[in-house]
């Protein structure tokens, strides 16, 4: 056990997996200098430039060549720098990586991880701030992972790298600096399992990635009036239906909170599923809290409008209890 940042936990996970399996390698822009956020610092020194590959600004090729390299049995870790730039490589991820195994009748496998640093981060504006996890959860063949803590970034990245199918791995840029206890010898975490962050009796709040901190803060704000159960989904696809539904069934109330745009966000899938499965068993309607459907503006006071905050979450919880 030691205190690690979310960023260092991810780096350690990659380092351990690269030591464990010589077929694991990483590719992306500026990785030789540690990557744009420092997630790869020191790795080229240990593993050399062939396994920590500096690439041109060629997102389509970064993603597309990784598919080919995966089909011949290597395990690429693809660095997209910002999830927004992954939009330059969607054919390669969605038409190729996600479908190859199936289209070829199981002949090939695509064991790659595409890291897509996501979310809002100090006035990065509309092209450097998006949260598009709902897109990938909609695509057959993809696994979607959204770690919220250093320990999870360690355990989930290891699991993603060992997964034999393509994994969209969305680290949140605003979490790089947060620190937490990480067991450096812990095994990979199971993909598809949510984490019960806090037990509670009155309301279940399901969240993931950067929003977990806001939900915890909101729960503290209203400790007196409401006992909130917090579930961190961790993996969006496959999502942990059992944990979410059994919790919601017990508390009788469900709120889903995510940073992504609310309209068409993954919260809708959870709400729709819960509404159907728990029809007649809930004390209040299933609520969602997400960003308004507007591009993310630059100016801090406007950007804050896109960021669901603890006060809004607390109000929503109160609303469910009313």
């Amino acid at each position: 056990m030691s205190a690690l940042s979310y960023l260092d936990a991810g780096r350690l996970a990659l380092q351990q997996e690269m030591r464990r399996d010589p077929l694991v390698w990483a590719l992306g822009e500026d990785l030789g200098r540690g990557g744009v956020f420092g997630q790869y610092k020191g790795l080229v020194e240990e593993f050399g430039p062939e396994r920590i590959l500096d690439t041109p600004i060629s997102e389509a090729a970064i993603m597309g060549t990784a598919v080919g390299a995966a089909l011949v049995g290597t395990r690429p870790v693809v660095e997209m720098r910002f999830s927004d730039f992954a939009l330059c490589a969607v054919d390669e991820l969605v038409n190729q990586a996600a479908k190859a195994r199936y289209m070829f009748g199981g002949q090939g496998r695509v064991p790659l991880v595409v890291r897509q640093p996501s979310g809002m981060w100090r006035s990065s504006a509309a092209q450097h701030s998006q949260s598009l996890e709902a897109w990938y959860a909609h695509i057959p063949g993809l696994v979607v992972v959204t770690p919220a803590t250093p320990a999870d970034n360690f355990g989930l990245l290891k699991a993603a790298i060992r997964c034999d199918d393509p994994v969209v791995y969305m680290e949140h840029k605003d979490l790089w600096g947060i620190s937490g206890e990480v067991d450096e010898s812990a095994p990979p975490l199971p993909l598809g399992k949510a984490r019960l962050v806090r037990r509670g009796e009155d309301v279940t709040v399901v969240t993931w990635s950067g929003m977990l901190r806001a939900v915890e803060a909101a729960a503290d704000l209203i400790k007196g009036d409401a006992s909130v159960e917090i579930v961190d989904l961790r993996t969006l696809y496959p999502w942990d239906r059992d944990t979410v539904l059994s919790s919601a069934k017990r508390t009788g109330r469900l709120l889903i909170v995510h940073e992504a745009v609310e309209t068409g966000g993954f919260g809708a899938e959870i709400a729709a599923s819960a509404g159907e499965a728990l029809f007649g068993e809930l004390k209040a309607p299933v609520r969602r809290l997400g960003a308004p459907r507007i591009p993310i503006p630059y100016a801090p006071p406007l950007e804050d409008i896109c960021r669901v905050n603890p006060a809004q979450i607390a109000a929503a919880v109160r609303g469910l209890l009313r």
Partner: protein
Amino acid sequence: MAGPVRANFDAERMLDHFRMMNRIRAFEEAAEAALKAGEVKGAIHLSIGQEAIATGVCANLQRDDLIASNHRGHGHTIAKGASPAAMMAELFGRATGTCQGKGGSMHIADFTIGMLGANGVVGAGILIAVGAAQGVKLRRERRVVACFFGDGAINRGPFLEGLNWAKIYTLPVLFVCEDNGFAATTRTSSLTAGGGPDARAASLGIPATIVDGNDVAAVDDAARELTQRIRAGGGPQFLLARTYRLKGHTAADVAAYRSAEEVAARQQDEPLRRCAEALTLNGVREDRLAGIVEAAQQEMAAAADAARAAPWPDRALAWADVQDIGAPVEAVR
């Protein structure tokens, strides 16, 4: 057309080419007939008239070498050694197909002979081939990856990104551009600026070798030279093969955008006929050639019969090979 009698003429190798080209031709003619009969449902793109390129290139690949193809991939796949029976079954959508009927013509693949897949997206195979070559290099293997694409694909970004990539990392890729003059129903000349595929390749540090793509011996010779360079560690090489697409873009396209005269003229120049001329000119007996043509047609007729008789994929297959974690289960609706 056929060129002079050659001193170093290798009749046996040329006969192998003739046999392979006829098998590809016969496969596609059988597939076309099955499509017209409504037995093959999805679109198919015929490489009739372009067989010499697949044949000449793959004659220089070993079994464990790799290829990535495009939407017009039947010839590449047969030439690399796939079973036409399994391929035909794939076109028919049967369980015995190369992909269990899940892919169809545009997604034929046979990993057992290093065929990494046709592709429904123009240009996408370029990046897959380059990446496969990078994987091969990382694994310290000595395999060559051949990548087939058309003259229309050079206007997509992946062409630039893939060639630049292969060159800076010195990857073992043979880029094969099949220049048949068309992108679907449009002449590529009107859409392509500058000097074309060879000029672009050269500007990316990969000088092109240009061959008459309807002369199978010429393609064979060029591919031999280029694959040798690659095996010697010379990095990516580029082959530009000029040819002509005798059929429509898809088997459903009547190609009204070009004259019957134009097509008739190019028929004179088609690779099977030229190969036959060269063989007879060099003393191979007509009946021997006729036997090869006959055998190819019989093989593919049998492939079609087998496909016709083969079972549809089991419903359960629809749910298989999606992904290990979170694979959907058949919903009871």
